[in-house]
């Protein structure tokens, strides 16, 4: 049996840019809210590209919020999230020692050969799952990350990756413009991307032109996170697929972006 919602205790919850927060949690001991365990086997699990459903409230808002894993280290899980609505706003106000309910890990995650030469292309908060992927990857990797006006997590990225290419729309850091202005697909065995739909669509088109395999991590409104509400379904070349179950990572070629 899989575990249902479990309680996590917050270690830190800090703002790192406008509307962007980083939260770290460890599991609570089932019998008590106050004892936190850090042993790896009882800690949070999951691979890059997988996500958790988070709720820090009873029934209002009604639904949990799907957030992808940004890191897991010694059972402590890190999420990077953008405040977009009431749910994420409530989470952003939580303090060290407060608790959240978590369900996961959910979804398929990225699958890659660690000896490949890969490119990672992120847009905005889409950087979160790719940071986790970056940390576990041992092969040759270039990281292209685009932000609107404010860049974040650059130190972490530069620590792990030799070739980083940064863009901001206002030119405050790196190239002024879009990350797709910098990205050149032809040199890679595989490209992995997460970000706004128009950006991912462009990355997929660029890769298709050069016959480079590309994987996208999709985002969709969802209710259950486990594959039953069919709310997050997207259209693919092989029929309707659930972002929460068959995804969130899909081959770029199978996603019908123009729906």
């Amino acid at each position: 049996m899989k575990q249902g919602y479990r309680k996590g205790i917050i270690h830190s919850n800090i703002q790192i840019a406008t509307n962007i927060y980083e939260i770290k949690l460890s599991p609570c001991h089932p019998e008590s809210d106050s004892i936190s365990l850090t042993m790896e086997e009882s800690g949070f699990q999951g691979k890059p590209g997988q996500f958790y459903m988070l709720r820090g409230w009873e029934l209002d808002p009604l639904l949990p919020r799907p957030i992808s894993i940004c890191d897991i280290s010694d059972g402590i899980i890190t999420f990077l999230y953008e405040v977009r609505g009431r749910g994420t706003h409530i989470i952003s106000k939580l303090k060290k020692g407060d608790t959240l309910e978590l369900l996961g890990p959910l979804g398929n995650g990225f699958d890659l050969n660690i000896e490949d030469k890969i490119a990672i292309v992120s847009g905005g908060i889409g950087v979160a799952p790719l940071i986790y992927l970056m940390k576990g990857f041992k092969g040759d990797m270039d990281f292209y990350c685009g932000f609107r006006n404010e860049a974040y997590y650059l130190d972490e990225i530069r620590e792990h990756v030799d070739n980083t290419h940064i863009s901001t729309e206002d030119g405050s850091v790196g190239h002024r413009g879009f990350v797709t202005d910098l990205f050149l697909p032809k040199r890679y065995d595989m490209v992995l991307t997460c970000g706004p739909i128009p950006m991912m669509n462009r990355v997929v088109e660029m890769c298709k032109d050069k016959n480079v395999p590309v994987y996208v991590s999709m985002e969709s409104r969802m209710a259950c996170g486990i594959g039953t509400c069919l709310g997050c379904t997207i259209e693919t070349t092989s029929g309707m697929k659930r972002v929460c179950k068959e995804g969130p990572v899909f081959s770029g070629e199978e996603v019908k972006f123009n729906d």
């Binding site: 049996m1 899989k2 249902g4 919602y5 029934l59 209002d60 808002p61 009604l62 639904l63 949990p64 369900l103 409104r221 969802m222 209710a223 259950c224 486990i226 594959g227 039953t228 509400c229 069919l230 709310g231 997050c232 379904t233 259209e235 029929g239 309707m240 179950k245 729906d259």
Partner: protein, 300 residues
């Protein structure tokens, strides 16, 4: 010694808690979280004669204490259900309701005839899906049209027949009476309420179909009132649903007159919410000295 068993049309449920159609798939995903044999029953995802891909665009949207959905009956079709899903459900030691939707009377008839040949325990006839363009909804609004559909299906159906009512019916009590006269063995109510939402920045409806179905705690008081009114008007068993999130909600529906209850949107909030509700009902019965569900059914 408490007894949570409930009988509807000769079918025995081990407890009154049924997973509602469209919120539980065919049980596979939830079976990873708890043994489905704990449930009184499962109502399948709404089935149509032929496979459906469902609606495009946004399908789910959170509202104050509720959700709007416009899934559009995405399902594998009756034959896909019988071949790929039913064998799994049959192994779960729980009552199986096949929820059947359609856009024409003929479609309902053919679907039901195919299901007659299977081991499902009951048919729950969905005359009220708001998310398919033709048919579906109209059947659930006008009691005269509902009477025709239910009469025809009744003649074709060899299984116990539950008719699922829409709260969007012109008059819910008349609707219930019409379905009863047409030969329904039981009624389940309510399905989702018609609702909508607008994306003010794009100046467009959130949903491609404009209208979607509202569910969740926000509809509970209205659903409860409808179950109460209908239970006083008809003599056939009622399955109550609409925003049930805990055992107290469930007991309210039973006290309003429901034989069984269904948990829908709640399944999205917590995968094993039905187990909490079943255990809560048992605890309540112990504390209140209630030996069987019948003692509290329709007590108000």
């Amino acid at each position: 010694m408490i007894n949570t068993k409930v009988e509807i049309c000769g079918v025995e449920f081990k407890n009154p808690v049924i997973a509602a159609s469209g919120t539980f798939g065919f049980g596979r995903e939830y079976a990873e979280y708890f043994p489905l044999s704990r449930l009184g029953g499962i109502s399948s995802k709404g089935l149509t004669l032929n496979k459906k891909d469902g609606n495009k665009g946004t399908r789910i949207y959170e509202t104050a204490s509720g959700i709007l959905n416009s899934i559009g009956l995405q399902n594998p079709g009756i034959e896909g259900f019988i071949k790929d899903e039913l064998p799994f459900m049959e192994k779960q030691d729980t009552i199986i309701l096949a929820n059947v939707g359609g856009s024409t009377i003929d479609e309902y008839m053919v679907s039901v005839e195919k299901l007659n040949e299977t081991n499902i325990d009951m048919i729950e006839l969905n005359i009220s899906c708001p998310n398919v363009k033709e048919g579906g909804m109209a059947f659930g609004i006008k009691s005269k049209i509902a009477y025709e559909v239910v009469s025809e299906v009744r003649n074709a159906c060899t299984k116990p027949l539950i008719v699922k009512l829409s709260p969007n019916a012109e008059n819910i009590v008349e609707m219930a009476e019409s379905c009863t006269k047409a030969g329904a063995d039981g009624l389940s109510l309510v399905n989702t309420f018609s609702g909508m939402a607008i994306d003010i920045y794009n100046r467009k409806p959130v949903f491609k179909n404009i209208i979607a179905g509202l569910s969740g705690p926000c509809i509970k008081p209205i659903a409860l009132r409808m179950v109460y009114e209908v239970s006083r008007a008809v003599d056939i068993p009622i399955i109550g649903l609409g925003g049930i999130m805990n055992y107290k909600d469930a007991i309210e529906f039973i006290m309003a007159g429901a034989h069984c209850i269904q948990v829908g949107t709640g399944n999205f909030i917590k995968p094993d919410i039905s187990i909490d509700i079943i255990e809560g009902i048992e605890q309540f019965m112990k504390e209140e000295g209630i030996e069987s569900i019948e003692e509290i059914r329709g007590v108000i």
